[in-house]
Symmetry: C2
Subunit: 195 residues, 2 copies
């Protein structure tokens, strides 16, 4: 997605070879027009797949889920994070390890909002280690729903997330795939889905 890549080059801050700060336009402060365009881009890719529900994880995936769900005219559900492992009969849950925060947490979704009839598109802001997305994938499987694919706004292609998801048979669509980055600049992988 050309305008996203341009915006990342202009307003993103490369703090190290692994850390990209986009909190002036994608998380924390958010550009609503760009966000709606991102949702439209995911919807365009998955429109023929008869998506019944968009899934994401609080908090930084929520606005992208709204934008995507609005473009597809289906509901979205955001998984909740909690530190306490209070397993309830009413929720599907999965453990996630956060590498940035060096802690484990549980993500959960109420069973009422996921069924075996659902055709799911997962969206999130970043795909890096894939830990959170693999947790969501596990929840979708537990519900017996079908996972149509994962849409990531930004992919750190030098990390293992895409590989792990693809090995598990998941289709991955990222709107900006970063091959490498440094204070010198950001190198993107060009893709057929880019526009």
């Amino acid at each position: 997605m050309k305008i996203l890549q341009d915006r990342i080059r202009r307003d993103g801050k490369v703090l190290s070879s692994h850390i990209l700060k986009v909190d002036s336009f994608l998380n924390h402060q958010v550009d609503p027009d760009l966000t709606m365009q991102i949702g439209q881009a995911f919807a365009d890719v998955f429109r023929e797949e008869r998506v019944t529900k968009v899934l994401t994880i609080e908090a930084s995936g929520i606005h992208f889920a709204l934008a995507t769900a609005y473009a597809l005219h289906v509901p979205f559900v955001y998984a909740k994070k909690k530190k306490a492992v209070t397993q309830s009969d009413d929720v599907y849950s999965a453990p996630v390890h956060s590498f940035t925060r060096k802690e484990d947490y549980q993500i959960s979704i109420a069973k009422s909002y996921l069924s075996s009839d659902d055709r799911i598109l997962i969206v999130d802001d970043f795909l890096a280690t894939g830990a959170a997305l693999i947790g969501l994938k596990q929840i979708v499987a537990e519900a017996g729903a079908e996972l149509l694919g994962v849409g990531a706004v930004i992919e750190k292609s030098f990390q293992e997330g895409r590989g792990l998801l693809e090995e598990a048979g998941v289709r991955v669509v990222s709107l900006a795939r970063i091959k490498a980055m440094s204070s010198e600049g950001i190198e993107f992988i060009e893709e057929e889905t880019s526009k």
Copy 2:
């Protein structure tokens, strides 16, 4: 907002005289069309006020902030919650007491994203005790920005939040004001802004 009130009557679950569950269409699972209409309703009320930024708090305010900011063509910023009180020079922060979770937390916004030139509209899903919104109000004041008003999707009018905000001179616009509720039903306060 008539369609919101109807939807709350239809899909909301009154668990007690104080607890209303709307997680099948407003938080957790979210209806994107209704969310965009809610944002439009807030934008309609504040359109003449030259809003420069919409503010909210993660996680359940984020989709309403996107919808409102998109309708007003301005950015939105979501305050982050954290339990650890790590006061930094780079953020505005305020303490908030959560009555439902019985714990204190800090909300914070990076100083880069709030300036004394900003004209702020705060939006959130619920107005009950007002604790979180008063924390946000404090952050807006600290930044020297102007607070144009607070938009709440649902107001529990039998709690003190609106009173506290109005006493502090804040304009409050709620799209569904609940006067009382029980297993028998929900009574709304009809308002001039309702439609």
